[in-house]
């Protein structure tokens, strides 16, 4: 079994400044130095999209639930020829079904069908933020050869902890 090398292991609130710090940490990691540029860009893009996703759901953490709050987390590990990106964040239970639907949908589609879905979603009117249409998930699914692995752990009657794992080949 190849040894796992940790590149990023972060747990805490994700602000835009934190995103910059984590991306700088990724860019300067020695494990990326010998990597082919396109694969490096895929890894970089995957980390940006996962951080954007966490950032987007930050509003799901209401102040009155802070005591029960589980901090967002991001882990990037190199294991042999693979980079494994694991991201976790708290979401409202009312968002769980929609997220599951979008994740299952991209996992079931082949590349051609994903591209058609990408075209459909990108041509929708842009909302205030990402409009939750899932363009980030589609983009990540197109850049990895494996499924987007995910889980939801119930925290209380209103919240769950969402974890997603994406593998990028060197």
């Amino acid at each position: 079994m190849p040894k796992a090398e940790t590149i990023i292991d972060f747990k805490g609130p994700i602000t835009f400044a934190t995103m910059e710090m984590l991306l700088n940490q990724l860019r300067s990691a020695s494990q990326l130095a010998a990597m082919r540029k396109p694969a490096k860009k895929r890894l970089y893009g995957t980390v940006v999209e996962t951080l954007d996703n966490i950032f987007k759901y930050a509003a799901d953490v209401a102040p009155d639930t802070r005591s029960k709050r589980r901090m967002p987390q991001l882990k990037v590990v190199k294991k042999g020829p693979e980079f494994i990106v694991t991201a976790g964040n708290q979401v409202l239970n009312e968002h769980v079904e929609d997220l599951k639907f979008k994740l299952d949908r991209v996992n079931q589609l082949d590349d051609e069908a994903l591209k058609s879905l990408y075209e459909e979603v990108i041509n929708q009117e842009a909302g205030d933020t990402d409009n939750g249409a899932g363009l980030g998930l589609i983009t990540m699914a197109l850049r990895t050869e494996q499924d987007l692995r995910y889980s939801f752990t119930s925290l209380d009657s209103a919240h769950s902890f969402f974890t997603m794992q994406i593998t990028i080949k060197e």
Partner: protein, 136 residues
């Protein structure tokens, strides 16, 4: 019309919309904190430019507009707005303003080349693809 120039940052691209020089440019990374706030003034500028050009006779209109798209990276939220920019340029093109779009991609970066071909197809605007050596 006044030119629009936006200096680049670590997370937002350099933007040049300069009708006097017949030159448009987008280069660098695009993952600004508020993507909508960043791109809306650009789309509004293009809309006004389009309206202004539509009022002019053929002799007064801009011709041979050069546009360069040299993105190192853009996130999926930016992609929506970048496609909207191409749709605006496509409208200009259909009003008789000839535009050359140069889409830069690094050697071996098939993802960037592929997203360029998709943007071109979806906006119905022909692109010229420019392969560049890997940049650090």
């Amino acid at each position: 019309m006044e030119k629009l120039i936006i200096d680049p940052t670590a997370n937002s691209p350099r933007v040049v919309l300069d009708p006097e020089r017949n030159y448009f440019e987008f280069s660098g990374e695009s993952r600004p904190e508020n993507v909508r706030k960043f791109y809306l003034p650009i789309l509004e500028w293009l809309e006004n430019f389009n309206a202004e050009q539509a009022k002019l006779g053929d002799a007064e209109r801009v011709h041979g507009l050069q546009s360069q798209f040299n993105f190192a990276y853009f996130n999926s939220t930016s992609a929506k707005y970048i496609l909207d920019i191409f749709k605006a340029l496509s409208d200009l093109n259909s009003h008789g303003i000839d535009i050359v779009v140069h889409w830069f991609y690094e050697e071996d970066d098939e993802d960037m080349l592929e997203v360029g071909t998709e943007m071109s197809r979806m906006s119905k605007l022909p692109f010229e693809y420019v392969k560049v050596d890997e940049q650090e």
